[in-house]
């Protein structure tokens, strides 16, 4: 048993040891471990130290979100005890929704669906691995989040996947790429293939996503993967019991992915260990999944957890945290010989899960695994000793008290600062509106993602009724997806997302509020019930040990809190990926603070779904919500090479009223004779881009009048009205004969009829002074939109 001598080390030597062993533990944490072993009067073994490092890693313990923070906002001091408890968990508690089944306590969040089933959702990041090996990183990112869903409660059946990526400009000159970094186009293509090959081969539809670009993602691309699962009622709780056998099911253990958990807590540089990469195998996971769900239905096990970051160490450590466990590491099936005990213990080899099985059920479990062609092996037993005991070939190699392992990590104290930014508004009005509109449509953030979406299977399992691409030629960008998981029930699940890291450069508070508003808008546009939408928060941020970076994170958390309470929309799960910074030749680049909000809602009758393309000539075009002069962080500002000043805010009261009324009207209308015929969320690049997309997706023309648009403040410039990214706005197409009915339903909300769907195949925009500022064939608009990412 190899010992690590640390009891007598000085503080700086402890730091060096942590660095040398890739433990990613700081001085305080190392000192706490030293104290523990000094009290025991012995040195730790390597496997013990590895176990502690993994359990205490940022990835597993979310130390920043649990930390005490001394914060100063515009000179005003504040103390925050746990960002998670103060802003995320508390928001969910305050919204107090009865349809929440399980939040924050398990691998994924669960809400009610129908009489027989609940639904679960989880989103994860796999940023660091995807930077090193895009294909494998994205592959296993998806594989991992699918296992999270398999491991929620007693196991949910995965029914849909989502993916959201952030990359640097894919056309960047390769001479500008620092050593050790892959070209963003290569990362994009690799990640896309990774998601495709895992999702398609395992047979789960990929239904929703987004792709965003900013050059600060050069060294740190972001890869978010999400999965939605269906779980029978009564299966949401699990508990491993003493004397249950610890069974590993699925793939074998190899040296792949060692130190993934601790590695993800470090900033990237050009020295990369090859073992940090995991290799995925969707077919292996599919076999394991089928066996597991069969075993679940026969109630053969009492608990299940996936082996994610930290492998056995994390899975068994978590399941046994209240009881205890004995593990015989030599029993674990290996891919090849020669693994050391600690390597077996922390390996992040994929497609493995741990189940807690009463001995009497073992035979049946083995029978099922034999039929499904997957491997199940007993590697130990749960105990009541409150200790984690590790053995290799009969000899003890490590022993840790559960209390120290799970509660011993010292709470960090961090400092943070935020000062409101003053930026100038320097945007000159465009002289050629049609050209600018085409330029905006061609920006990679806005451009068609068809080439990516079409690589994913979004039909498998047969339940996807709201497709990612819609319209006459099935190429219009849908706002959200709808999945009907029970094929004899019209009830559907709506899946959408909201993300806009550009706003973080002005104020992450409004960035967070905007992301939530956008996710809700998107869900409502296809027909989700506004009263029953749950959201997930996934933060990707820079190094939180830097005061200004943490200050920005706090602003975002405050936005998350306020928006959740104001909209009555609870969080059910979330995750954070920090330290997304890349150092090259002494220069550090941090990503813009990025928050992905994933939303999961319900549509009572999916036949009432709405899509975004214009449907019929002569129908009326309405806008809901007010437009403000908010070009700060907008795409229009970006093509002017400036940041702008006024970041889009959310006027919660008005927004909530509009969302409720629109959602109610959609719910109450007749599926065969709709009042609201189409709806599209107004976001990136504002009204101009939204209406253009509705035109060319439906192969219809439109004429609109800017003077009719309800304004929240005085605006005199056409470009501000047309390209402002004000939140809480939706463009709808209303049946020409049912305008009165619609207007009656929307009483009390800011709305206006702003134009009509026309027979000509052009988009005509009349400016504030009544003069035509755009008259452009929709074919040209579509071409501009499709060209940028046509590979």
């Amino acid at each position: 048993m190899s010992e690590i001598k640390l009891c007598k080390l000085a503080k700086n030597e402890l730091n060096l040891l942590s660095k040398k062993m890739l433990l990613s533990l700081d001085e305080n944490e190392m000192t706490e471990i030293q104290k523990h072993y000094q009290n025991l009067g012995r040195e730790p073994t390597q496997i013990e130290l590895e176990t502690i490092a993994q359990t205490w890693s940022e990835h597993c313990k979310h130390k920043t979100f649990a930390a005490k923070i001394i914060y100063e906002e515009n000179g005003k001091p504040e103390e925050i005890n746990s960002l998670f408890k103060t802003f995320i968990k508390k928001a969910t508690e305050k919204t107090n929704k009865k349809w929440l089944v399980s939040v924050f306590s398990d691998n994924a969040g669960i809400i009610e669906f129908n009489k027989e089933y609940n639904i679960a959702m989880k989103a994860e990041t796999h940023n660091h691995p995807s930077a090193l090996e895009p294909y494998g990183g994205a592959n296993t990112g998806l594989g991992g989040v699918i296992r999270d869903i398999l491991g929620v409660g007693l196991g949910a059946k995965p029914i849909a996947n989502t993916d959201v990526f952030c990359f640097a400009n894919p056309e960047i000159d390769s001479s500008k790429i620092p050593k050790g970094v892959l070209h963003p186009k290569r990362i994009f293509k690799g990640v896309r293939m990774g998601v495709r090959d895992y999702g398609n081969r395992i047979g789960i539809p990929t239904v929703n996503g987004a792709i965003l670009f900013d050059d600060r993602y050069l060294g740190n691309p972001l890869v978010y993967c999400g999965t939605i699962g269906l779980i029978p009622k009564g299966m949401e709780k699990k508990e491993a019991k003493p004397n249950d056998l610890i069974v590993t099911i699925g793939g074998r253990t190899g040296r792949d992915g060692i130190h993934g958990a601790t590695f993800s807590s470090a900033e990237l540089d050009s020295n990369v260990p090859s073992s940090a990469v995991q290799i995925g195998n969707p077919i292996e996971e599919k076999k394991m999944m089928d066996a597991l769900l069969k075993a679940r239905d026969l109630k053969l096990y009492n608990a299940v957890t996936d082996c994610g970051a930290g492998g056995f160490s994390s899975a068994i450590g978590e399941m046994a945290s209240e009881i205890g466990a004995k593990v015989h590491l030599e029993k674990a099936p290996l891919k090849y010989k020669g693994l050391l005990p600690w390597e077996i213990w922390v390996s992040e080899a994929q497609e493995r899960m741990i189940i807690s099985v009463p001995e009497k059920n073992l035979k049946k479990l083995f029978e099922i695994c034999e039929i499904e062609g997957t491997e199940a092996t007993v590697i130990g037993e749960f105990t009541d000793t409150k200790k984690l005991e590790l053995f290799y070939e009969g000899k003890s190699v490590g022993e840790l008290p559960m209390k120290f392992l799970h509660e011993g990590v010292p709470i960090k104290t961090l400092k943070a600062k935020w000062k409101t930014k003053e930026t100038p508004e320097k945007i000159e009005e465009t002289k050629d509106y049609a050209k600018t509109l085409k330029q905006l449509l061609g920006m990679p953030n806005i451009a068609s993602k068809e080439k990516t979406i079409r690589q994913y299977d979004h039909e498998v399992q047969g339940g996807v009724v709201g497709k990612p691409l819609v319209g006459e030629n099935q190429d219009g960008p849908a706002d959200a997806a709808i999945v009907r998981p029970i094929l004899d029930d019209w009830k559907g699940i709506v899946i959408s997302n909201g993300i806009n890291p550009l706003y973080s450069d002005l104020d992450p508070y409004w960035m967070a509020c905007s992301a939530i508003d956008e996710a809700l808008r998107n869900a409502i546009c296809v027909g989700a019930d506004f009263e029953k939408i749950a959201i997930l928060d996934n933060f990707s941020w820079g190094n939180p040990e830097k005061e200004n970076v943490l200050g920005e994170l706090i602003r975002a958390c405050k936005g998350c809190y306020d928006a959740s309470i104001e909209f009555g929309t609870p969080y059910i799960s979330g995750k954070d990926s920090l330290y997304n910074e890349y150092t090259n030749a002494g220069k550090t680049i941090a990503i813009p603070g990025t928050l992905l909000i994933s939303a999961m809602g319900i549509i009572e009758d999916s036949r009432k779904k709405i899509s975004m393309p214009f449907k019929k000539e002569g129908n009326a075009i309405y806008i809901l919500g007010e437009t403000f002069a908010e070009l700060g962080g907008s795409h229009y500002a970006k093509i002017n090479n400036t940041l702008g000043k006024n970041v889009p805010k959310v006027r919660f009261e008005k927004a909530k009223k509009m969302f409720s009324k629109l959602s109610k009207a959609m719910k109450e209308q007749n599926a065969d004779s709709k009042v609201i015929v189409s709806a599209h969320d107004c976001s990136e690049a504002g009204i101009g881009v939204t209406i253009a997309e509705m035109c060319f997706s439906g192969n219809k023309g439109a004429e609109i009048f800017l003077e009719k648009i309800p304004l929240g403040e005085k605006i005199e410039r056409n470009d501000v009205v047309l390209f402002s990214e004000s939140n809480s706005r939706i463009i709808v197409e209303i049946d020409a004969s049912k305008k009165n009915e619609f207007e009656k339903q929307m009483q009390g909300v800011a709305f206006a009829e702003i134009g009509t769907v026309t027979t000509g195949k052009a988009l005509v925009v009349n400016g504030l002074n009544g003069k035509i500022i755009i008259n452009e064939p929709i074919e040209n608009l579509k071409k501009a939109w499709k060209k940028t990412l046509d590979w």
């Binding site: 040296r255 077919i283 080899a349």
Partner: protein, 156 residues
Amino acid sequence: MTPNRRVEVTFSDKKLDSGGISTKNDIIEDLHIKEIDSVRTSEIYYFYSKIDEKKLAEISEKVLTDPLTQTYSLKGNAIKDFSCSVEIKLHEDVTDNVGIVAQEAVEDFLGKKLEGKIRVSRKYYFFGKITKQTAEKIAKELLANSVIETFEVEVK
């Protein structure tokens, strides 16, 4: 350790090699190398077990090859007349899922376990005026990731 046997599987001459076509497009569009005329791809199975040639031919035909679209070679390159080629192998300690599955299939076919493993590599044959340096650039910037893979360039 050197493998005992090598089987290379490739698409038959007139069949569509879609991997080759998309690699060619990537070489032109992403690396701006215009000299490439076409690319063909293959998979090479390395057997670390002793198998006689007749048996190996049978395995190649019945397990590793789709007889409608593919052919195989037990001796040397399956494709001739190329200008350069790049073979990409996983590092020895990296999990090779294709190899594992191939092994399972071969063992099923033989009705017995193999004494050694099977490892799989990918090979790209370039046609056109491609020099060794260009082939290396393509390998480094497009095809192989040095974190998990190594590559070998062959000049005809």
